[in-house]
């Protein structure tokens, strides 16, 4: 399939206007995800974290822009690359780290780990490590919302690789037939693990949901204002009962498929990586807009950065000092009491 155009036709700066307050909030959220994950990478590299993790760095604008368009009661479901979604929907850094370290105060009491963080209190129905599964959870949540008249929207985050799973098509069909309030957010970071998505995807991504009569938008995923405004419009329609919508955001993961994927040259070039980091970084793009058009001082941004770093460090400290679950916990929660 052909590569996407990075500047989608019809991009109109005007329509991405957001309030200063909102922009600063989104800025802080993106920085939080960035620093959180850099810490995760470091924990892995210094052998302080059990297992692996899939970093979201580079894709922050999507989670933040979409979650900004949601209410707290709205649902999200997430993937193996889920830290960004969890944080954007409202998870606390300390409890996130605790989960990653397999500690008791982690969001899943240490049972889930990086790929399974769930926080129903913030509307997060959990990350799921099976590609495509998040779409099922969100479609089901949308079914509940519709049946019980809750007025909630459910958002499924997944990568473009999930379009390889037949499940997605079964879900899109039913969601469209039954006009379920679900928004599918496809984060097209161009790679399914170590394979470029063009080698695994016939035709155009956007034609898949369109075939089911689903409202579909494809945008660049690096400008959080664009993501937010587009998501906001789609969420409005979805909530109004117009049926599901599908949002494709073209993006890039800066790091490896997971923290252990260090030598990547056999599947992508350093130049490509460098270009995205330099020219399409979501934090820089929003930062530039804030300073250039909103007269926000660089000091204000640095201050945010500093505050976030402190939050991250104290969260990590909390997690490191937290106890492991009691060994007897191993048998608990197999069945609901």
């Amino acid at each position: 399939m052909s590569e996407p155009k990075m500047e989608p036709a019809g991009r109109n700066e005007k329509s991405f206007e957001v309030s200063l307050k909102r922009a600063l909030r989104m800025y802080r959220q993106m920085v939080r995800i960035r620093h959180f994950e850099e810490r995760v990478d470091n924990l892995y590299k210094t052998a302080q974290m059990p297992g692996l993790a899939h970093l979201y760095i580079g894709e922050e604008a999507i989670a933040v822009g979409v979650c900004e368009a949601l209410g707290k009661a709205d649902y999200i479901s997430s993937t193996h690359r889920g830290h960004g979604h969890c944080l954007a929907k409202g998870a606390l850094v300390g409890r996130m780290f605790a989960e990653l370290l397999g500690k008791k105060p982690g969001y899943c009491g240490g049972k889930g780990g990086s790929m399974h963080i769930a926080d129903p209190d913030s509307g997060n129905l959990g990350a799921d490590a099976i590609v495509g599964a998040s779409a099922g959870v969100a479609t089901g949540a949308a079914f509940t919302s519709k049946k019980l008249g809750l007025g909630k929207v459910a958002v499924a985050f997944f990568g473009e690789g999930a379009l390889g799973q037949g499940l997605l098509y079964e879900l899109m069909n039913m969601a469209a037939l039954w006009k379920l309030p679900v928004l599918y957010v496809c984060e097209n970071n161009m790679y399914n693990e170590y394979t470029r998505y063009t080698e695994t995807t016939a035709g155009q991504l956007e034609d898949r949901p369109l075939a089911f009569g689903i409202q579909t938008k494809r945008i660049g995923g690096q400008d959080v204002r664009e993501v937010y405004r587009t998501a906001e419009e789609l969420v409005k329609d979805v909530r109004a009962g117009q049926g599901p919508a599908f949002l494709i955001c073209d993006t890039y993961r800066y790091y490896g498929h997971h923290v252990g994927d260090i030598n990547r040259s056999y599947y992508r070039s350093k130049e490509e990586e460098g270009m995205w980091k330099k020219e399409r970084d979501p934090i820089r793009i929003l930062g530039a807009w804030l300073t250039d058009t909103k007269n926000v001082s660089p000091e204000t941004l640095s201050k945010i950065d500093k505050e976030v770093r402190e939050e991250i460090e104290s969260g990590l400290e909390f997690a490191k000092n937290a106890p492991y679950p009691d060994p007897t916990e191993v048998n608990a929660n197999v069945y609901a009491e």
Binding site: Y107, G110, A133, G136, G140, L148, N173, M174, Y335, A336
Partner: protein
């Protein structure tokens, strides 16, 4: 009519079929709890191909008895997501042979989400499906795959043998906060039995002694309970007193009752309609052989379905299902008569 230990008294009993018992249980629970709904292929007006659900749509409407596309994975996924968010779905998988399509949803999601989330999320869902050969439906419509689900921690598996048990177990299944796989033998829908007028439920993990005896124990499940009872009658004629024990749920498993019966009689045959190799009979035999080791006068004998794909031709198919004659022969052998 079967012997049923939980019987109240005959005056308050009605004779209904296995299918009617199931329908009554579903109707009662749907009346009691508005979050219960049924979803699957041709469940509404058609009432499923076996007509077991006939009429439910008249009372509860298509909002709660939901016809789907032929998308077992997709609607199972919606079921799981809706169960996580407050509904109590009954997901209808027309033939047990189609379960493999929904396996990923059942095993990686329904069975694990409660545990993975550290107990925060629950998946109160029932997968309703069939087992059993004998209908000349060949290899893809005749399997009894309950062993697979019995193998997976996080799932419960109900497998009733009488209208009384079917109704009571169904009501328990729907009220359970954990996922349940409910297997109905498709040859048993017209079987009649007594059911009390008043409401009742049957706890999971409680075996039922369908017939008391002292010389040999026949542990049997689902349709094989009838076969065991037939065998017991024949054994009586030659002076052997057989006890017939029905676990009713393969998980949780009432090991205590099984072992106690084995200790009493000293001889055991286990009978189940799943494939014999690595099937339900293996677990039951292993549990009994270990638990009653010092009481057994002979090895535990197993009868599962013959280890072949179910053939179409009646002269072949009939050989694959355990028969009363085979059990009588084995019992005589074990009792050295």
């Amino acid at each position: 009519m079967f012997m049923q230990n939980n019987q109240v008294n005959d005056e308050n009993m009605r004779e209904i079929s296995f299918a009617e018992a199931i329908r009554e249980a579903l109707a009662e629970e749907m009346r009691r709890d508005p979050t219960v709904y049924i979803m699957g292929e041709d469940v509404a007006e058609a009432g499923t191909p076996f007509k077991v659900l006939l009429g439910l749509v008249d009372e509860f409407g298509t909002e709660r008895v939901v016809d789907t596309p032929i998308s077992e994975a997709g609607f199972s996924a919606i079921g799981v997501g809706s169960a996580m968010t407050g509904m109590r779905p009954v997901i209808d998988i027309m033939f047990g042979d189609f379960l493999p399509l929904a396996m990923e949803q059942i095993v990686n999601r329904a069975a694990k989400i409660h545990y993975m989330s550290g107990g925060k999320l629950r998946v109160p869902i029932v997968f309703r499906t069939t087992l059993g050969a004998g209908r000349r439906s060949a290899a893809q419509h005749s399997q009894s795959l309950h062993a697979w689900f019995s193998h997976i921690p996080g799932l419960k598996v109900a497998i009733p043998s009488t209208p009384y048990d079917a109704k009571g177990l169904w009501k328990t299944a729907i009220r359970d906060d954990s996922p349940v796989i409910f297997f109905e033998d498709k040859m048993m829908y017209s079987l009649k039995g007594l059911v009390p007028d008043e409401e009742y439920t049957i706890p999971f993990g409680l075996a039922d002694i369908k017939r008391s005896g002292k010389d040999i124990t026949l542990v049997a499940t689902s349709s094989m309970v009838q076969v065991a009872l037939d065998a017991a009658k024949k054994l009586e004629e030659i002076g052997l007193s057989a006890e017939v024990v029905d676990p009713r749920t393969t998980w949780p498993l009432d090991k205590k009752t099984l072992i106690a019966s084995a200790k009493k009689t000293g001889r055991v045959i286990v009978i189940d309609e799943g494939y014999e190799q690595y099937g339900v009979t293996a677990e039951l035999a292993a549990v009994i052989a270990e638990g009653a080791f010092y009481y057994l006068d002979a090895p535990v004998r197993r009868f599962g379905a013959m280890d072949v794909p179910v053939p179409f031709s009646p002269v072949l198919e009939d050989q694959t299902i355990p028969s009363a004659e085979q059990i009588v022969e084995a019992a005589k052998d074990l009792c050295a008569v």
